[in-house]
Amino acid sequence: MLSKRKISDRISNGWMIAALVCILLLPVIIGVALYFKSAPLLSEHTLGELITSSNWHPNKGNFGFWPFITSSMYVTLLSFVFAAPVCLLAGIYLTQFASKKLIDIMHPVIDILAGLPSVIYGVWGVLIVVPFTANVLAPLFNTESSGYSILSGGIVLAIMCIPYMLNMLIEIFNTVPRGLQEASLSLGASYWESVKHVVIRGSYPGIISSFGLGLAKAFGETLAVMMVVGNMVQATANPFKAGYPLPALIANNYGEMLSIPMYDSALMFAALLLLVIILLINLVFRYFIHKTQQR
């Protein structure tokens, strides 16, 4: 005869493990669902053709994702170039030089930056970054731009990624043993030298990983980028021209995707592409981080 406590124990154990398994299976389920939706497209075109072709005419059944993929990579790379140095420097300052008071102020600042919804960054981008690109940056480089450009997308995205990367960097710098740094100081290194040779070198895999995860986050960001990037289908090397990243493609066309044959399949393929790329980057770099934290 099972007691009431034993029965409730069994029920809740079942519930707990079911919940965990559900969450862990989620990416697989999402992947399979999106794959089935994009299967019609994949049966008509090869994967290589879809990715490398830049012929995008949904009405004629031509789906080339190259312009979208390049736009995505371009915006992501630009944002990385802006955000990475700031994160690295701020991370060092907050873990090595900053006073207790500044750290107490910075915690909520980083939290709020991370918590602001992407649409708010989008509004700010439209109000500030777009005119800034059109009226200040473009004349500086002797070109013309409407402001709705890859460069604007990169700037807005950089600010969105900073709190994300910075949080990881702070955690990584904090795992460097204090004793190692003190040893180098006692050998006559200046404070900065010990930071450079001990802290940065010691957390090298961690730094690379958080940069990688920051890139992945930037790659999937939708609304803020979409609001400032211009959304024109073209593969361009000029950052002052408009781009059309993958997430924006999905978000912009959901309304008409059921009225054109294969269009829904193409958009779901874009989502699948995003999922696979981002999940892969995450799995690889998270692995590095987990390895460093276990040491």
Binding site: A90, Y93, D111, G115, I120, Y254
Partner: protein, 284 residues
């Protein structure tokens, strides 16, 4: 030689200081811009009325439909995410506590899950919706957002639970409690401040996310009363109104953005205050 070393230190120290303070400046800049632009257009009507006829041409009304819709979706989604996420986090820390390898692997996958962008959840929610024969509705939005924020609940709560000393569990088990009692009577209570943070974090993410509800929740000028009705959301209200060619409508997008920012700020700050307040009652 020594001179160069010190100059280098000075340069980098000030550079990194500038980088840090510039983050405060950026945050202040964003908030000031949103508030200045938003408060100009913010009126009592904005938060107490739904859009009336001709609203999108500059007519009367407000964004009450979107405020309520967003609250419904975020509340519903948080509830589901807590029902899935809390037991999962407890399981990792109670049942798996002796299996370090499994624990690490599970955490590794959960971390990776956190990185999946919301537009992918949106696309998945849409696929699921078509498969089940549902329309864009409050329910579809709630489910999609719940999937999006469940990993956040698990990982944030788990982070706090993992810091509870294992001796606490051992002593409870030694007195004859079952694993369930250990999980819900001891771990849940000890980790309560962490749970509050996790819930508020997830709620904030849910209320501000646009890409996942874009496909699934639809948009309407009415306040939804049933789960199968479409619901407007604040981020989408901002997004749609901002793309309008009419200046008055764009002004309202700024006002709606100010409302959303205030909500997010309140959530952020109360998460800190509440978790500090509840951490007084736990056993150290």
């Amino acid at each position: 030689m020594k001179q160069a070393k010190l100059i280098e230190e000075k340069i980098f120290k000030s550079l990194s200081g500038i980088a840090t303070y510039s983050l405060i400046a950026i945050l202040a800049f964003i908030i000031v811009v949103i508030f200045v632009k938003g408060f100009n257009a913010l009126s009592f009507d904005m938060i107490t009325k739904t859009p009336k006829g001709g609203y999108y041409y500059g007519g009367e009304g407000g964004v009450l439909n979107a405020i309520i819709g967003s609250l419904y979706i975020a509340l519903g989604a948080t509830l589901i995410a807590v029902l899935i996420g809390v037991p999962a986090a407890l399981f990792i820390n109670v049942h798996l506590v002796r299996h370090k390898k499994t624990q690490t692997t599970v955490r590794y996958f959960l971390d990776a899950l956190w990185g999946i962008p919301s537009i992918v959840y949106g696309a998945f929610g849409f696929t699921l919706m078509l498969y089940l024969g549902m329309n864009a509705s409050l329910l579809a939005g709630i489910i999609t957002v719940a999937l999006l924020i469940a990993p956040i609940v698990v990982r944030t709560f788990d982070e706090v639970l993992s810091k509870i000393p294992i001796g606490m569990q051992e002593s409870v088990l030694a007195m004859g409690s079952t694993k369930t009692e250990t999980a819900f009577k001891i771990m849940l209570k000890q980790g309560f401040p962490g749970l509050i943070t996790a819930i508020l974090l997830a709620f904030g993410r849910g209320i501000g996310d646009a890409a996942s509800v874009l496909f699934t929740a639809g948009y309407t000028d009415l306040i939804p009363v049933n789960l199968d009705e479409p619901a407007a959301t604040l981020p989408l209200a901002i997004f749609f109104q901002l793309s309008s060619p009419i200046p008055e409508v764009r002004e309202r997008a700024y006002a709606a953005a100010a409302i959303l920012t205030i909500i997010i700020l309140i959530i952020s700050l109360s998460a800190r205050a509440l978790s500090r307040r509840y951490s007084k009652t736990i056993i150290k």
